[in-house]
Each structure stands twice: as C-alpha cells, then as structure tokens.
C-alpha cells in the first residue's frame, strides 16, 4: 500500500520537520517494505506498550510521544522509515546534482588539449617570446597551450626560492615556498585576468586562454634576467638585462596585443598597462630579494673598516 508523504496529521510538525521536498523523483513512499519498527502492525503496538511499561518500572522518563492516547499508531512509522526514505531520496538527488556539476566543470579532460605539445614546439615558442613581431596590421597567432606557461611559472618560483635562500630572506608571516608561489601565480593569473578584462572593455580580439599563454611565455625573459642577476650581483648588469631582455619580451606581448586591438586609445590603454606591469614586476622581483644581499655586503664592509681602525698595536702594548 502506498501512501503519499504529506507530512500532515497528528505526527506533529511533519512538514516543518522535513522541510521542502525538492527531489525530482516521485514523492510516493512505498509503505509495504517498511521495517518492523514502523508501528503499523499489531505486534509493534504490543511492543510499544511493553516498552512503556518497562520504562515506568525503571522510573525513567517515558518516551515523549504526541499520541498519548494511542490514536494514531503510524506516527512512529512516519518518523522512522518514512523519514529515512525522505532523507535518502534527498541525499540521492543532491548526489546526482553534484555529480553532474563535477562532470561538467571539474573534469580534467577539459584541459587535456592544452597540454598536447611536442618539445620542439615549446622550444620554438620560447625563442619566439623574445622576438617582437613587426606586422601588427593582422592578428598575430597566439599558441593556445598551457604546458609552457605553467612550466615557466614554476621555473620562476624555483628561481625566486633560490634567490631567497642565497640572500638569506626570512619571511615572518608565511613560508618561502608560499611567498614564491603566491607571487608568481598571482602575477600570472591576476595580470592575465586584468588585461583580459581591459581587452574586453576595449574590444580586443583575444581569449583568456590566449592571454594566459601570452603572459606565461612572456615570463621567459624575466626568468633569464633573474637567473643571471641572482648569481652575479651587479646593478649595472641587471639594468642592462632588464632593458634588453625584459624589453624584448614586453615588446613581443605588446605587438601581439596591438595586432588584436582596434583604435588608438584602446591600443594605448592595453599596451601601456601590460608593458608597465611586466617591466615593474621584474624590477620588484629583483629589488625585493636583492636588497638584503646588498645590505649584508655594506654591513660587512663597515664592520671591516671599524675593525681595521682599532689601534691593536697600542692595545697589545698596554698603551
């Protein structure tokens, strides 16, 4: 016998207890397969009376039930099997919705085409990231892949870690690894998103994937500059490499954006922001971790000068 799950009756608060039933499946509950604790059979009624009698003998507080007069014997069934069935159906419905959402958005296969590359392709794109294109009248092709940019970001993380270790950087709130990863991924994802947003406002013909790829490969120049200057501490060398290699990678990105944007004002806005952010980021990476090394060297020189100025001979002779 099937009964609709109405939640009404002397069950007392059934609808409020169950809440809104939004499952797509049927709300009909099959009462034929209920367990022995449903309270709908004569044996269960006897069992209930026996339990109440035992509780009175022990002196415990009787189980609170709304049907003290025993008028409706199905209340226990509503709270027992019916409640479990409702909860189970809600759980199954929620699980199905979550699985659908995960299969749609969380499937790793969505990203699989962007990692299908050959070593020769990655090498060519790395070289091209330092060669500014000359033709800006036609939209320049941007590789829609993520392997190279991702590896370059991780390489920058490793270079930053190396720089922080050699300079003795101490991060009080956090870790070196977290700082490096946050800085590099924050720049890559944040600036890509910001420039893409600017491109959307200025009607630039570039997708988010292409922006990520373009900026990712644009980090090849900074990687080279930092790898050299973290090991050879010369300000003049850094400025020279910053201008040449950093400038080449910036020019490459700017040229691609120019070819994909129409309008002088729009081109100026996008390319100006991109160039400024890219060059300033390289400056920041250098000076944020280089100053400590510079400071330590100055300190050592001062200490050596002070030690050498002490009249050791006179002290030895007791004068």
């Amino acid at each position: 016998m099937a009964a609709a799950a109405t939640g009404s009756g002397e069950g007392g608060g059934g609808r409020g207890e169950w809440g809104t039933f939004e499952a797509s499946s049927s709300a009909v509950i099959d009462m034929e397969n209920m367990d022995d604790t449903s309270g709908s059979s004569f044996e269960d009624m006897g069992e209930m009376h026996q339990q109440l009698k035992e509780e009175d003998d022990v002196g415990e507080e009787p189980v609170p039930t709304e049907e003290d007069d025993g008028a409706f014997l199905g209340v226990k069934g509503l709270k027992g099997q019916l409640g479990r069935d409702v909860a189970d159906q809600v759980w199954q419905a929620g699980k199905r919705q979550a699985s659908k959402a995960f299969n749609l958005y969380g499937n790793i296969d969505i990203l699989r085409p962007y990692f299908d590359v050959e070593p020769i392709q990655v090498r060519n794109r790395l070289m091209e990231s330092l060669i500014p294109v000359q033709m800006i009248n036609f939209p320049q092709k941007v590789a829609g892949e993520l392997y190279g940019p991702l590896m370059l970001v991780f390489t920058l993380v490793a270079i930053l870690l190396h720089g922080m270790k050699t300079s003795g950087t101490v991060i009080r709130e956090g870790t070196l690894m977290g700082t490096a990863i946050g800085t590099c991924f924050g720049y890559w994802l944040g600036v890509s998103s910001f420039v893409y947003f600017l491109g959307y406002l200025c009607n630039a013909q570039i997708t988010m994937l292409q922006m990520l790829s373009l900026l990712g490969y644009g980090l090849f120049g900074p990687c080279i500059v930092l790898l050299v200057t973290y090991n050879v501490h010369l300000h003049s060398l850094f400025y020279l490499l910053w201008f040449i290699i950093g400038g080449l990678s910036t020019l490459r990105m700017v040229a691609v954006m120019l070819s994909r944007t129409i309008g002088q004002t729009q081109r100026l806005a996008i390319c100006g922001v991109l160039a400024a952010l890219h060059m300033v980021f390289l400056l920041y990476l250098h000076f944020a971790y280089h100053r400590i090394v510079e400071g330590a060297r100055v300190l050592c020189w001062d200490l050596a000068a002070q030690v050498s100025s002490i009249p050791w001979k006179d002290l030895m002779l007791g004068q």
Partner: protein, 178 residues
C-alpha cells in the same frame, strides 16, 4: 627444519602484504643506472615501501647534517606527487594512478640521498656543491622521466616529463644545499 619453515612463513607473509624484494631491487638498479632501460610492467606497480624508506633515509641524512626537515620532505613530496599526477594525466592518453607516480618519484629520490650524504661531509654552498647538485637533479629527473615514459608510452616527450621532475627535485636540492 623449523628455521626453514619460519623463513617460508615470513616469505609468504611478505608476499601477502605486497612487498616484492626482487621488484624493489630492480627498480633501485634502474634508478642508479639511468642508461638501463626500464621495464614498464614493473614500473607500473604501486609500491610505496621503497619510497617510504628512501624518504626516511633522506630525512635522516639531512638530520645528520643538522637540518630537521622531515615536515618539508613530506609536504613537498605530497604536493609534488599530486602535481605530477595531474600533469601526467593531462599529457598522457592512458593515464596513471597517483600511487604509481608516488612510487616512481620516491624511488628516484635515491640520488638525492647521496647528495645529502655528501652534505654531511662538506658544505655544498661552493664550487663543488652547486655542480654536484645540478648533476644529481639531472640524474633524478632522467631516471624518473625514463620510468614514466616507459609506463605511459610517451616516447618523444621525455624532455617534457623530465623538466617538471627536475623542478621538483630542485626543491629537494635546495633543502639539501641551504
């Protein structure tokens, strides 16, 4: 008679819990000799006994050098395994399990133990230490990429697999050197 029965029982027990000493030895030799071809069927096994021992040995050798880095080793190992597992599943057609990735990366940590053993004897922050560290990083990444491409049939992409392995082992080298 009782001794032979005891050894037989022990061998059976070891096999029941999935420890194959022959495969462990084969994998260790494959790591130590980067030029030796890797057997794809053996490399595809999820064996974490050797990697766990190697991680502990790495931490112990660092401890001998005065560095308590067990937490960093385990944390970087876990994150590195997850990242490599994701990357290899994106790059390969067949896919690979996380246990297999952890097993291969763990076995290829063996040369890094040699480097950390050298750190006990002399400082690696010098003319000898940096090239030695670079050689060990290349050794580890070459062995790991060789095992991965034999398991996933990714011939022609060994460099693409070796580079992220080199980045991961570079982090371990930073722990060892500094």
């Amino acid at each position: 008679m009782e001794t032979s029965n005891f050894h037989e029982d022990m061998d059976g027990l070891v096999q029941q819990i999935g420890i194959n000493f022959d495969h462990i030895w084969q994998k260790t030799l494959t790591v130590l000799n980067p030029m030796k071809p890797a057997d794809g069927s053996i490399m595809n096994e999820t064996d974490l006994t050797g990697p766990m021992v190697f991680c502990l040995a790495f931490g112990a050798t660092l401890l001998l050098a005065g560095k308590v880095q067990f937490g960093y080793i385990y944390g970087i190992s876990v994150l590195g395994c997850l990242a490599m597992h994701t990357l290899l599943n994106l790059m390969s057609v067949t896919g690979v399990s996380c246990g297999c990735v952890a097993s291969v990366l763990g076995y290829c940590l063996l040369p890094m133990i040699i480097l950390s053993g050298c750190a006990v004897l002399f400082s690696l922050q010098g003319v000898i230490g940096i090239p030695l560290a670079l050689i060990v990083i290349g050794w580890c990444s070459l062995s790991a990429s060789k095992m991965f491409i034999s398991t996933l049939a990714m011939e022609g992409q060994q460099l693409l697999v070796a580079y992220p392995c080199a980045l991961l082992y570079g982090i371990f080298a930073l722990l060892t050197v500094f």
